[in-house]
Structures are given as C-alpha cells and as structure tokens.
C-alpha cells in the first residue's frame, strides 16, 4: 500500500499517550457488555443491556429504525457520549476508565465517518484531509495545509487520490456536493490510519446513486486497508452486500446478531414497522 510506505517515518510522531495504551489481542477489537444509556430527563433507556464483540477485520452492519439507538451506540463506543452503565472495551481498553490523554490516543486508532460528513466548511479539502493526522501529530503545523510539513501534504493528496478527489485539493469544503463531501470525509479517515472504523449512516444524506458509489468505494477501501468496519444503515441491501455480520436493534435492544449469510432479510423489514399512533 503506497500510503503505508510513505508515512512510515511519520508514525514516530504519534502522541505519547497512544504508546501507553495497552495493545489488545488481535482477535477482539470492540467488546460491549451490558451497555445501557438513558438521556437526562427521559423516562426510558435508549440502549438496554447491549452486548456483542467485534473481531479484527469484521464488517458489521448495525440496522434499526430511527430512534432504535444506533447512533447512540456508536457514540458510546467512542465515548463521544457517556454510557449510563455497562462496559465498552476498545482494543482491550475500558474506554470509561481512560483519562483524557489516553482516550485521545485510543480515538486516534478509531475512525468515524458521520452522516453529515462534518468537514470544516470554510477550510480547503486538503486541510480537512490533513486534519485526519491530528490524532497522530500534536504539532500545530498539521492544523492547516499551508503550515503542514510536506510529507503530511503528500500523504493527504494520496488519500484524496484513493477517493477520486485529488483534483479538488484547493476547493473549499462547503462548495462540494454531498457525495464529494463524504469522499473527502473518507479520505480524512484514511489519513488517520485507523484500525477500526465506525460509520454512522454514511450514505443516508446522499441520493441513491451517490450513496451507492460512496458505499462501494468505502467498502473497497476498508477491505484494501485491512480495517474493521461497523456501519449503521437503513439500507438492507447495503447490509447484505457490504457486511459479513448484521446486528439489528429495536427500541434499544439487540434483536438479531448473526452472520449476514444466515439473516432472512425479508423478515428484517419488521424492524422498520411502527406501532400505530
């Protein structure tokens, strides 16, 4: 892989706290046990006693209707949101027990692709991709493309090439279409060199054609870079084609957790049936 070779010297700039994080056994990257979450002021739990383990190289689709708890679950796994109870272990580390520095180090190994892309709109595409290295480099030079060292710039351009956006380096991110923005967000994730990638409905804000392109590209890159993938989606077809395991949520509970080949997709439509109002 070209980017691996080119960035090898830069890995030495990884944050000191990243080195202090315990390396997990290769088999399990994410282990969730008895996870529950209740928002302040809400009468019921959004997540109820969720448990599962995800191994290296797995591609997991998280299915469920709006409000079933998919996004909350992904956020709790990254501790972008505090769980109410339960245990989340990322690469063998209990994320709820980590201090700020250690948590940042752990997050630098875990990519997130958001439904709304979450690029910094007023900055260039190249700067947005270089931001993917912020977890690896604490040097302020990586804040903006104009001040970034040449190897960072070169690597960012290579990441943009991988997603077919190398011609847009100088473009402001808020001038891109939805599909282009999501490609840049994926390039930012590649720049991060994560072992595990969470994607929260990565194609949901795109039209069907663009969503299909993005998912195909995303899946190919994830496989090519040997990453583990957990993505949430409403699209059963995406789950069937891009995941080798399906976890389905209903009202905050896991109702299905099995290999994609063993899932009867015609029955999954029931996940999206609403109770009569």
């Amino acid at each position: 892989m070209a980017s691996e070779t080119a960035t090898a010297p830069l890995r030495g700039n990884a944050a000191p706290e990243a080195a202090s994080i315990r390396q997990a056994p290769a088999s399990t990257e994410l282990a969730v046990t008895g996870l529950s979450k209740r928002y302040d002021g809400e009468p019921q739990n959004v997540l109820r006693d969720i448990s599962f383990r995800i191994g290296t190289g797995e591609r997991v689709a998280l299915l469920g209707a709006n409000g079933s708890g998919k996004s909350t679950l992904l956020r709790c796994c990254m501790r972008l949101m505090e769980p109410s109870s339960g245990d989340v272990r990322l690469f063998g580390n209990d994320v709820r027990q980590l201090g700020r520095s250690a948590l940042r180090g752990l997050r630098s190994r875990t990519g997130v692709v958001f439904q709304r892309h979450n690029l910094v709109g007023r900055l260039s595409v190249l700067t947005n991709v270089i931001h993917g290295a912020l977890g690896r480099s604490r040097h302020p030079g990586t804040w903006f493309q104009a001040t970034a060292a040449q190897p960072w710039r070169d690597e960012a351009v290579r990441c943009l090439q991988e997603v077919g956006m190398a011609d847009y380096t100088g473009q402001r991110a808020d001038r891109l279409s939805g599909g282009q923005s999501q490609r840049v967000a994926i390039a930012r994730t590649l720049m991060q060199h994560p072992q595990l990638v969470f994607a929260d409905e990565p194609a949901a804000s795109l039209d069907p054609a663009a969503g299909e392109e993005v998912m195909a590209l995303f899946s190919r890159l994830i496989a090519g870079h040997g990453m583990t993938l957990v993505f949430s989606s409403h699209d059963l077809d995406h789950a069937r084609r891009y995941a080798d395991r399906v976890i389905a949520l209903r009202a905050g509970e896991v109702v299905i957790d099995r290999p994609t080949a063993a899932v009867d997709f015609s029955q999954l439509a029931g996940l999206y049936q609403r109770e009569a109002v």
Binding site: L80, L106, G111, V120, G121, L134, G135, R136, Q192
Partner: protein, 266 residues
C-alpha cells in the same frame, strides 16, 4: 370529509400566560412609566430652550479653518488610538472568549472567572476606564488606547464566545473523535467556523472605538477630545463646529469602510 367536531380543539390565538408571566409584563410596564415620570420630562422646557440652541448654532457657523492643521493632527491621533485599541482588544478577546464559551472552556470555574472579567470590562464605561488609566499612566493617547482596549475586550469577548457556542458541533466532534486535542479542535474547527462572525464583530468594535475615542480626550486621554474640550472652555464655538464636522466625516468614513469590508470579507 370530517365534520368540525372531530378535529382537536381550536388552538388559542395568543399563548397562555401564567400568573408570573402576566406579572412580568405588568412589572415591565410599571418600570417604564416610573422611569418616564422621574426623568423630569418637560415639553415646555424643550420649547423654551429652542432659541438657545438656535443662538448656539449661529455662533458655531461658519466653522473656523485657522486651526485645521492642529485639528487634523489630533484627528489622526484619535484614529490611531481607535485602531490600536481595537486591535489589542480583539487580540485579548480571543483567548478570553475560548475560556468563557460553554463548548470550549476547559473547566466551569475558569469559564465563570473569565465571564466575570469580561462582564467587568463591559459594564464600566470607557470614560471611567479612561479616567482610571489617566491616573495610572498619565495624560495622553496611551491611556486612551488602554481604555479602548478594555472596552473592546468586553464587547468582543462576549460576542466571540456567543459565536463559538452557536457554531455547528459536527466538525469539532469529528476532530475530537479522531483524537485531536482541545486546542487543535478550537483552532481547526471552531475558529474557522466563527471567523465571519468575529470579523463582523471586530469591525463593529472598531466603529464603536472610533466614536468613543473622540470623547476620551475630554478626560485627558489623548485625541481630538482634548481640542474639543479646549474650544468649549474658551467659548470658541466656530472651532467646536469645525471639530464636530471633522469627527462626523471621520466616523462616517470608518462606518462606510467597515460596511464595505464586511461585504467583501463575508
């Protein structure tokens, strides 16, 4: 078609107010009436004073041009005070805003202390700051610049912080999720998003400082206000009108320039 009775009840045209809400309206009305009645408002006095205003205006015209070189020099000094005070105030406002905004403050105690400092800067009028700094550093433009700096800090830090709090939380969350530290997140996601708002606020602060810098000279803090005070003390109303006209042109030019820059930059 459904008959009318099957629809929910017709919603009220005005929102329902609680007893406390209604009492709030009454208290506000009472405050306004109380303030108006205790301000010695008098139409008779105003009408009786009109001839005096006319007399003063007649003494002010035609404006005197003899002291134009001196007025021009102090006007330039006033402008420089406004630029320097605004610049220093904006620079000081940035860290204070980061420390006092809800989504960027490192700790609630730091946020509370910083907000108190910013409020103190804002609540004390610039003229009082000028008196304080004249006592501290002596007469002259330095005291004026310090007064404008503090006043600009109180103004800008508050609005910068509000802009940061209103910024979309998506990009900062994305950067936090990939392991970026708090400083990097503020610098790379929050500040770029709030830059247009901060530029607009800074330009408004500059307009405000330009107007304020005229008055600061009245207490010896440099600028055209010193000339204005001297002319008033000597009943030299033709010079007073010259100074007022010059200030008017300067403030108008600054406001137009500021509007132009806002349109260009934003």
């Amino acid at each position: 078609m459904k008959d009318r009775a099957s629809y929910p009840a017709d919603p009220p045209r005005l929102p329902h107010k609680s007893v406390f809400g209604f009492a709030g309206y009454l208290a506000a009305a009472a405050l306004i009436i109380w303030s108006l009645t205790n301000s010695e408002l008098s139409l008779t006095k105003l009408l009786q004073g009109l001839p005096e205003i006319g007399r003063l205006l007649s003494e002010m015209f035609p404006p005197a041009l003899e002291r134009m070189p001196s007025i021009g020099t102090t006007l330039l000094e006033t402008f420089q005070m406004a630029v320097a005070g605004t610049f220093l105030g904006v620079v000081l406002s940035l860290p204070l805003a980061v420390l006092s905004a809800r989504n960027t403050a490192p700790h609630w105690t730091i946020k509370a202390v910083t907000r108190a400092i910013v409020t103190a800067c804002r609540t004390v009028p610039e003229l009082i700051w000028a008196i304080i700094f004249v006592i501290a550093v002596g007469l002259g433009p330095f005291a004026g610049v310090l007064a404008l700096m503090v006043d600009t800090t109180g103004f800008c830090a508050r609005f910068f912080a509000e802009a940061m709090e209103e910024a979309d939380d998506g990009p900062p969350e994305a950067l936090r999720s990939l392991g970026a530290g708090p400083t990097a997140t503020v610098a790379t996601a929050i500040l770029p998003a709030t830059l247009p708002s901060m530029i607009a606020t800074s330009l408004f602060a500059f307009e405000k400082a330009t107007r304020a810098s005229v008055v600061l000279g009245l207490v010896g803090a440099g600028g055209i206000g010193v000339e204005l005070m001297a002319a008033i003390d000597m009943y030299d109303y033709r010079n007073v009108s010259t100074i007022i006209l010059c200030v008017f042109v300067m403030v108008l030019a600054v406001e137009n320039l500021s509007s132009l820059l806002r349109r260009k930059i934003l």
